[in-house]
């Protein structure tokens, strides 16, 4: 491989050091946000630099297209990615997403960006093998741009407003596209009220990722049992008085083979959700006594009728989210949403050109 060595390597290195020193990176090198690069991105998309896209918690600062483009440039985005980044930034700022909690919690919550519609293929996004892993520029840099915007515009800097005890790697970047072509079911954005050919981002506040593997089962009820039991994590009780496991909208990412097994067994997506929901029940005696006592006290304070009732992963089956992604194989993932209360939010991806 021939390595490019330009005359301005020293300038590049100096820019990196300046940006690190200013505390505006995520710790990885960035593309220096020059006026020219930012202007090129804005002109490519036809956006007005001064147009306000949203107000971004936790610092509640105004985010213009210029602000978002600067962070997208730094993340390594191509100009064509900007509309997706902007839609995702607007989505995380929605009150329902509860970004002020997601961004400041001592927990490990991070925004995950899911892209649906033709734009995913147009941008070359990866919805197949390693969809959640490295190697695809659009996946990697769109997610990173959202994280940088949250840090630099929203003010969620580690140790200042981002008070995570551990954090998680998804706080660097977390973005993928649904594998709509290989899914037997309606896509996520269609379930959420958009037309099949609409371009949509959905943001989900995830607190981690658990691999779910069942290479022995092929019937829906058996697969549902494996998913359900994989979701019962005693250390993942949400902060609300109803005491759900997780944030109430658990996300399951199924590879096409698993989704197809459900489908061949006669399950619609709604039926698959119901089959998992009804099996995902944790009796309170599985909890440590102090945790159990605290939960019962909270439920009693909220005048719940059954303070000693079992824990569930959602209030209703439809609150489970199933997204089809990945390549060959049966390895799935369960991503609990942040227990401090958050709801997934979808936004249409706007274009000016």
């Amino acid at each position: 491989m021939d390595v490019w060595q330009g005359n301005n390597d020293g300038v590049w290195d100096k820019a990196q050091e300046e940006l690190f020193a200013a505390g505006v990176t995520d710790g990885l090198p960035v593309i220096p946000p020059t006026r020219e690069r930012v202007a090129q991105m804005l002109v490519h998309c036809g956006f007005d630099a001064d147009e306000v896209v949203t107000t971004l918690p936790p610092a509640f600062e105004v985010a213009t297209w210029r602000d978002i483009a600067i962070n997208a440039v730094m993340a390594g985005c191509l100009p064509a990615y900007l509309p997706v980044v902007g839609a995702a930034v607007a989505a995380i700022a929605d009150t329902e997403f509860n970004l002020i909690g997601i961004a400041t919690t001592t927990g490990s919550a991070a925004p995950m960006v899911i892209v649906n519609g033709p734009v995913a293929a147009e941008l070359g996004m990866n919805a197949e093998g390693n969809a959640l892993g490295p190697g695809n520029r659009a996946n990697a840099t769109i997610g990173r741009a959202v994280s940088l915007a949250l840090r630099n515009i929203g003010g969620a800097k580690p140790g200042e407003l981002d008070m995570a005890t551990l954090g998680q790697s998804a706080k660097y970047t977390c973005c993928f596209a649904e594998n709509e072509a290989a899914s037997p079911w309606p896509a996520l954005h269609v379930e959420r009220g958009f037309a099949p050919d609409a371009n949509v981002v959905t943001v989900v506040g995830v607190s981690g990722s658990v691999e779910v593997v069942d290479s022995a089962s092929s019937k829906p009820q058996d697969l549902a049992q494996t998913f359900a039991q994989s979701m019962l994590i005693a250390g993942n009780i949400g902060g609300g008085a109803d005491g759900l496991l997780g944030g109430g909208e658990p996300l399951i990412i199924m590879p096409p083979e698993i989704a197809t097994a459900f489908h061949r067994g006669g399950c619609t997506k709604a039926q698959a959700k119901a089959a998992i929901f009804e099996r995902a029940v944790m009796p309170l005696d599985r909890l440590s006594p102090p945790v159990r006592e605290h939960l019962v006290e909270l439920r009693t304070s909220a005048a719940q009728s059954d303070a000693n009732g079992p824990l569930r992963v959602a209030r209703r089956p439809d609150d489970l989210m199933i997204v089809v992604a990945g390549g060959v194989g049966v390895k799935a993932a369960y991503l609990p949403t942040w227990g401090g209360t958050t709801r997934a939010v979808s936004r249409a991806i706007g274009t000016r050109r």
Partner: protein
């Protein structure tokens, strides 16, 4: 020959601007203290000790203790309104 490039600031607002902080004059009779229990385990105990410590350190005219039932959601408007009307400062944000 040295080269120079100009970088734009990715932060909002620009570092040179700063938000104004509201003035909160305290009456000589003492501080009207608000306590918001965020419902985390042991938050009530910690805040109780904190009130005792503040009482020993400064004149406290009154203490208004309220509790929100969700750790991760902001306090409801009614709680915020009551604090705004009745206290000078609020202590909250017990973490774990």
């Amino acid at each position: 020959m040295s080269q120079k490039i100009t970088l734009v600031v990715p932060e909002a607002p620009a570092p040179e601007s700063a938000a104004l902080v509201a003035q909160r004059p305290v009456e000589k009779t003492g501080l009207r203290l608000g306590i918001l229990d965020n419902s985390k385990g042991n938050a009530d105990h910690l805040l109780k000790f904190l009130v005792e410590g503040l009482r020993a350190a400064m004149p406290i005219a009154s203490v208004l203790s309220l509790k929100k039932l969700s750790v991760g959601l902001a306090a409801p408007g009614a709680i915020l309104d009551q604090f705004a009307a009745e206290v000078d400062y609020v202590v909250t944000a017990m973490a774990d």
